[in-house]
Amino acid sequence: METKQSEITVGLEAQNKVESTYIVEIKNLSKSFGENHVLKDITINIKKGENLVVLGKSGSGKSVLIKCLVRLMDADAGSIHILGNDITNLKAGALNDVRKKIGFLFQSAALYDSMTVRENLEFPLRDFKDKTAEEIETMVKNGLESVGLPDAADLMPSELSGGMRKRIGLARTMILKPDLMLYDEPTTGLDPITSKEISKLILEVQKKEKTTSIIITHDIECARITANRMIIIKDGVCAAEGTYKELESSEDEWVRSFFE
């Protein structure tokens, strides 16, 4: 009897351990816009430290998926657990606390036009009243150095190139050292060389800060560089899943067409 009890306890512990290894758990997520069913019953689990790349054609619902993760959009059905919190049921205050542990790099970098680069990087730190001006200055300096732009602090966003904007956007999202990073098409609109640099930077940041990442892209080179695991979304469902090599040599012609 004692043995059985201990087996059960061990079993439960093991189950809890398995659950706790997932940073993100998306279950049966659905989202529609009128008659357009963008996401249908999507289930994805992401382990700590993993880089998940989500591929798919334009309009396949990739961006909607990560916007649902931070409640920029509300899901119609399903549950989303991030860092142990059920995002779909959180109230504003608690949701903001979870959001501070998530970094989101927007497609356009979304730098605040009316602020300098320094003010952009300081913006996420404004709620941390315990930090002194020197500490904030050091964090901004380190953030800019980590993306290779140490002298950009006093520039305005309008003075930056596309690649520089992405780098500053990345520095701003990384300044709070988030546990989870969401990238919405990080290489879109960039030349192949800058795209490669950004992809390598994503990988570098992930290794250095040990973050978990979800990268939405249709840039196959970016996926090759950054992915531990990949998911391909087609018609609102996960059509394929695997590593880069597995999907590259898939028997499904449609999946292979992404790699050609």
Partner: protein, 276 residues
């Protein structure tokens, strides 16, 4: 056959009437929907304005941008207002030998009506379009989303500060415009006559009472609030990408100006009732 034709004609007329009324209904439907959204937006403002954290730094910045940076425009407009009003009314008053009434007439008309309305309209054009375009641009380039994702309340940071800044700054700008108008009026009087500065301003302030000053000041607070509310509402809810930026700026100016006239009409009625 002819009976059938007439029945068909009546049916067709009825159909036309129905389609016309449906069309009108849909037009009003959109208007009331927008009015409802604006009311909810205003409700959110009042809820957010009393709840901490307070964005003092951003409020000060907006007061500087809205107030200080509008001073030159308001000064030029105010000066011309006073000057033109004096030059235009002088011949009429001179015909009745009432030139000595000019300072008092300028004081009452500027303080009660022309100063607040013209300054508010100028601010609706400059400040309202600026706020509408800025917020719409932030919306379409995902800057508002970025703020939200970073755990900041964008409504509090962007909307509340701007509405408060316009509500506080427009009355101050109106007082400034009134004063500059008096200087314009003084110069206007002295183009063809010779009136001392002290005499002119004594005449001006003698003719002004609390009945003139208080209602006028009170309505400028509402003017400022309406400019801030409408402009932020239009910008914050912008859609249609870059096209939406222009539409929001345009709508902000048009609706703010309309609100100013409506508030002015109500204020005049209330003032005349209360003064009685």
């Amino acid at each position: 056959m002819s009976k059938n034709k007439s029945i068909a004609a009546i049916a067709s007329t009825e159909n036309d009437t129905t389609s016309t009324s449906l069309f009108s209904f849909h037009k009003f439907d959109g208007f009331f929907q927008e009015l409802g959204e604006l009311t909810r937006f205003a409700g959110n403002f009042f809820k957010s304005v009393i709840r901490p954290p307070y964005e003092f730094k951003e409020l000060m910045k907006q007061c500087y941008l809205i107030g200080y940076q509008s001073l030159s425009l308001v000064a030029i407009t105010g000066f011309i207002m006073g000057l033109v009003l004096t030059i235009q009314t002088r011949p009429t008053l001179a015909r009745f030998g009432a030139e000595s009434w000019i300072p008092g007439m300028i004081a009452v008309s500027i303080v009660r009506e022309i100063g607040p309305v013209i300054t508010a309209l100028i601010c609706a054009g400059k400040v309202g379009s600026g706020i509408g375009a800025e917020l719409a641009s932030m919306k379409v380039t995902e800057q508002i989303d970025a703020m939200e994702v970073s755990g900041t309340n964008p409504f509090k940071y962007i909307v509340v500060t701007r509405i408060l800044a316009t509500t506080l700054m427009i009355p101050i700008l109106v007082v400034f415009a009134d004063f500059v108008s008096f200087i314009g009026g003084y110069l206007g009087v002295n183009i063809l006559g010779d009136v001392g500065l002290r005499f002119f301003f004594t005449q001006v302030f003698d003719k002004l009472g609390y009945n003139d000053l208080l209602p006028a000041m009170l309505k400028t607070v509402f003017f400022g609030f309406s400019i801030g509310l409408v402009s932020t509402f239009k910008g914050y809810n912008a859609t249609k990408g870059t096209e939406g930026v222009g539409l929001s700026a345009n709508a902000a100016v048009v609706l703010s100006s309309l609100c100013i006239f409506i508030i002015d009409a109500i204020a005049v009625q209330l003032t005349s009732l209360l003064v009685k």
